[in-house]
């Protein structure tokens, strides 16, 4: 199925590399609908819920975007795409595995503690997790959420585009949700 569209995708990708936004948009849209049938069987094989498919699709789209220079125009597109999908599926599997280990560890902690500890205040928790984010994500979250700056102000201050602010925020939120998932379970 992917093979048939190889030629089309190569053309889109080449055009995108020359700054053609409509081609890039068509490529990403085509991939967003072509990827789920490839990703969900792989997730199932690893024992992960198909509800994670959308997450992996978005991770793959982000990776295609930030790593598009690693696709060599003289090489076929599909193997490159497959490798990224594989990497992101395994990445999610690793994350989920670590999370379940953490859940078990924290459950064990709770079993061992007899006295209830005081719940940390949620804002302190947020701050602590924000500190653990990569630098760019940390700066964006700090500016937007903790200092209340606007997207435009944040973009100007960090010398990045507004869209980069959105994309970075998207990544940061994903990371935070993943970490909170562990703590609250």
């Amino acid at each position: 199925m992917m093979k048939d569209r190889e030629k089309e995708w190569v053309e889109f990708m080449q055009a995108a590399n020359r700054g053609c936004k409509p081609s890039y948009s068509r490529l990403l849209t085509a991939l967003a609908s072509a990827l789920p049938p490839i990703i969900s069987p792989n997730l199932a094989r690893l024992g992960l819920p198909s509800g994670d498919t959308e997450d992996v699709v978005q991770e793959v789209l982000l990776a295609i975007h930030s790593k598009r220079h690693t696709w060599d125009e003289s090489r076929p597109f599909t193997p490159w795409l497959r490798a990224i999908v594989r990497h992101k599926v395994l990445d999610l599997a690793r994350q989920r595995y670590k999370q379940s280990e953490a859940v078990i560890a924290s459950a064990l902690d709770r079993v061992e503690t007899t006295e209830a500890e005081e719940e940390p205040q949620s804002m302190i928790l947020v701050e602590r997790h924000v500190d653990g984010l990569p630098k760019q994500q940390r700066n964006v979250v700090r500016a937007l959420v903790l200092e209340g700056a606007s997207v435009q102000e944040t973009a100007t201050r960090l010398k990045i585009s507004k869209n980069t602010v959105y994309v970075t925020l998207h990544r940061a939120m994903k990371g935070l949700v993943a970490k909170f998932g562990i703590e609250n379970e």
């Binding site: 995108a16 590399n17 020359r18 700054g19 936004k21 890039y24 948009s25 990403l28 849209t29 967003a32 959308e54 699709v57 978005q58 789209l61 982000l62 990776a63 975007h65 930030s66 790593k67 598009r68 220079h69 690693t70 060599d72 193997p79 490159w80 497959r82 490798a83 990224i84 594989r86 990497h87 585009s161 869209n163 980069t164 959105y166 994309v167 998207h170």
Partner: protein, 212 residues
């Protein structure tokens, strides 16, 4: 954020024409810069090898050829491994370099009386050379990892090992400017030990730094 929104954002982020630096150019520049740093430190802060004054000895020739063989092979591997779909094999450059070294060592053992072997092996600067080569390779190792990070290594550990071997082999060759020992047996043990440590360090750092 829905996938449609994400796509809209990503499309808006696409630059008009400016392409990102390909990894090949970045890796080339990074290795050149890292090697220049290492070379400068050896040139300005270490004494010149006393053997170099008498021209290129057999030891220096074998060391440099073996090191550059390994460097060429692992440079290629580093570049290949920075693409997500790539498979690369670093066994061949390692074997080839080892073969060159072993040939040289065999020649040396043949021309040296056995009671001198141990003193040649240990020399007088064993630990110093080992530590120097390891530390001097760090600028190249970090430069290589930085460049590979710009790519997308699906096998980060392997890419890290390749970077470590690359850094170690270039440093091994450059260190001949200083190395006071004129024995290939010495090089084969102490420089190779440093290169092995660097490969290990590379694999550790690769796993941690080459994430994407």
């Amino acid at each position: 954020m829905s996938s449609e929104e994400l796509i809209t954002r990503l499309v808006a982020e696409l630059p008009a024409s400016r392409r990102q630096w390909p990894v090949s150019r970045l890796l080339g520049a990074a290795i050149a810069l890292g090697s220049a740093v290492t070379f400068s430190v050896i040139w300005f802060m270490f004494t010149r090898s006393p053997h170099l004054a008498h021209g290129v000895s057999t030891t220096i020739a074998f060391t440099v050829v073996a090191a550059l063989t390994l460097a060429a092979g692992t440079y290629r591997a580093s570049l290949t491994l920075s693409r997500p779909e790539a498979e690369a094999n670093i066994t061949w450059p390692v074997l080839l370099a080892a073969l060159i070294l072993i040939t040289g060592v065999a020649l040396e053992l043949g021309s040296t009386p056995p009671h001198l072997w141990v003193s040649r092996l240990i020399g007088t600067h064993a630990l110093g050379c080992f530590i120097s080569v390891t530390l001097l390779a760090l600028p190249i190792l970090f430069a290589a990892l930085f460049a590979i990070r710009h790519g997308a290594a699906a096998r980060p550990t392997q890419a890290g090992v390749a970077a470590g071997l690359l850094a170690g082999s270039i440093t091994g060759a450059l260190y001949e400017i200083h190395c006071p020992e004129n024995s290939l047996l010495f090089v084969a043990v102490w420089h190779v030990a440093a290169i092995v440590v660097l490969a290990g360090l590379g694999s550790y750092l690769g796993r941690r730094l080459l994430y994407w």
